[in-house]
Amino acid sequence: MTVGTLETALRAKRDEGRKLLVPYVTAGFPVDEWPRLIEGLGAAGADAIEIGLPFSDPVMDGPTIQEASTRALGAGITPVAALEQVAKVDVGVPLVAMTYYNICFKMGHRRFANALLDSGICAAILPDLPLEEVGPWAKAADHVGVETVLLAAPTAPDERLPAIVERARGFVYGVGLVGTTGERSELASTAVEMARRLKAVTDKPVIIGVGVSSPEQAVELVDVADGVVVGSAIIRRLLDGGGIDDAIAFVADLRAALDRAAH
């Protein structure tokens, strides 16, 4: 198995002692500004960027990301239009698509994988495509060279984790809590525990997301995890009307906190 672009990049940074930061944005939100937001997050120190392609029925997402998806869809974003825009952005870090399986299934596995690559995206997260169902997509993705990030959740019994990390490409996405995406005032106890359980079974980068909301929480987590995904805390700032500069500044704060934690 050849190691893909995303995993190679993340491993290299981790092995230098850097703590990984993966911000999430929703394609199409805020309308017109989101491509510049992606560039800004790259410049603010993201190690990879997760780009959500909005789906009508996002069952893994809480109210904040749902709202961003609804607005983006209402403004007419489609997966095809989103990928065309992504192709034009200039960021120096790997891009990861996050969407629900029906978007990929409808386009066709091979076509979807190629469309991601053509837009400069090297990996995919499909949260409603668990290990038992991932086979046909993963085969097409492997063939084309798109890395399939798999999720591991706190509800998994220990015996399930080795199979998940084995099939995961790019990084292993540990779900920080039992629930949907959204900010939480405290870091769930499951987050560090999830990181610990995954680190015990894999050498692939272990990044924890869902419920990671502040620099303090991120710092607490990277004591064990290789990095964090932060989504709702960024989207909420945009929904609050702070503008993309506010979101970019927040990611810069996260970066600074993680860099301090690394030393």
Binding site: S56, V59, G62, T70, G74, K106, L151, T155, V175
Partner: protein
């Protein structure tokens, strides 16, 4: 009439799913990783319960002593004269709580009890599944939370109050079309967040494996009774056609299961604005691969139907399979045909049907030439009390607005 020859259980077309939860190419378990262990645990629990004579006996006694089964089969002389073919009704409207939904709910809440789960989460469209769930939860002393779309809360006010009376908490689903699809989304999110303490009581033959299989098994009793009652009434014969409405497809699967291995024709009737089989293409939402109303990019479309219980863009995977192999036929009727059927049955037989099974009758009225001289069995899945106020409002309003009954619905909310 065709001859009766159902040899149940042996190589039946409805024996599936396979070990991956597939009915042909449909079904499966497309859920967030968080829920995979819960689905596996549920599958194991159901498998062991269903193999346990004690569980079966308890379920059976609940169906008889609490729900009032068996439900009768009514031979509709007046309506038959009016339409020119013989009409039999399987009277699921006479079950406790007023619909077939109670069969599945008693099975699932009994299973939840066996699994040691005391908090039940459910979604509901028309409110019939919600009422049935709230009822069973009250009976078993379980906590109950029901998600219901805001549009449906407005048009099914009676059922909302019934649920509250039964001690359930009704939570509005405010996203998307604010109907059944969105109630399922919210219930699934709630399940993701509370999976360790809660039991998700899904209301139809949809969702991830094992739900489509388990819910069918709990509704098999409809088909088994209807088969026996038909042969008794028809001197060993069977109806020529069996008709049922399709939301997710549970009442249809229940009655079809009694006839699938005979020569009886099976017809599922969807609303024109929620015709997943007729208009759908394969897709994945709410845990399974099935037919789905969606746009060219795979975004799920919003169904539009006068009937809250059928206002759903998908369909259970076993129906997609039965359509795929050509064993069942699927038709779609308009809201205005449904309202006419609702009134016709009320007037001719003294039976006010729910708007959902009125879809089945609406197709029978449309197909009366094709059905002339035949015997047709309709699954009357529920009674119409919940719909009376809504139909009255529609009939007092502008008849031109029939197919676009709005109830303050907006598309794509909060833009």
């Amino acid at each position: 009439m065709v001859a009766a020859s159902a040899d149940e259980g042996t190589n039946s077309l409805m024996e599936g799913p396979d070990e991956h939860g597939r009915f042909g190419r449909f079904g499966g378990r497309f859920v967030p990783e968080t829920l995979v262990p819960a689905c596996a645990e549920l599958e194991d629990a159901f498998r062991s319960a269903w193999a346990d004579d004690g569980f079966r006996a308890e379920f059976h006694s609940l169906l008889t002593d609490y729900a009032g089964r068996p439900s009768p089969l009514t031979d509709c002389v007046n309506l038959s004269t009016e339409l020119g073919f013989r009409i039999l009704l399987k009277r699921e409207d006479l079950n406790h709580t007023g619909s077939h939904k109670i069969n599945n709910v008693l099975g699932q809440t009994l299973l939840a009890k066996r699994m040691g789960k005391s908090r039940i989460v459910a979604e509901t469209g028309a409110g019939q599944h919600g009422v049935a769930t709230a009822t069973a939860a009250a009976y078993f002393g379980q906590e109950c939370v029901v998600y219901m779309g805001e549009v449906d809360i407005a048009r099914q006010a009676l059922n909302v109050y019934r649920m509250q009376l039964l001690g359930a908490e009704v939570r509005p689903a405010r996203s998307g079309s604010r109907t059944l699809k969105d109630a399922v989304n919210e219930a699934m999110r709630e399940w993701v967040a509370s999976v360790e303490s809660s039991y998700y009581c899904l209301g139809s033959v949809m969702g991830p494996h094992p739900y489509p299989w388990m819910v069918r098994e709990f509704h098999r009793t409809i088909g088994r009774e209807a088969f026996d009652q038909s042969t008794a009434l028809l001197d060993g014969g069977l109806p020529d056609v069996v008709v049922a409405c399709i939301g997710g497809g549970s009442n249809a699967v229940g009655i079809f299961s009694g006839f699938v291995d005979t020569d009886v024709e099976l017809v599922g009737v969807e609303p024109a604005g929620g015709a997943a089989v007729a208009r759908g293409v394969p897709g994945v939402v709410h845990g399974s691969m099935s037919f789905l109303m969606q746009d060219e990019f795979g975004q799920v479309q919003e169904a539009q139907s006068v009937s809250a219980g059928l206002d759903y863009p998908g369909v259970g995977p076993e129906h997609a399979f039965l359509a795929d192999v050509g064993r069942a036929r699927y038709e779609a009727v308009t809201d205005s045909e449904v309202l006419d059927a609702f009134e016709l049955l009320s007037r001719t037989e003294g039976i006010i049907p729910a708007l959902e099974p009125a879809h089945g009758l609406a197709w029978m009225i449309r197909a009366r030439d094709e059905l002339a001289g035949k015997t047709v069995l309709l699954n009357l899945s529920g009674r119409g009390d919940k719909d009376v106020a809504q139909v009255q409002a529609i009939r007092q309003g502008d008849p031109a607005a029939l197919d676009t009954v709005d109830f303050s619905r907006t598309n794509g909310d909060a833009v």
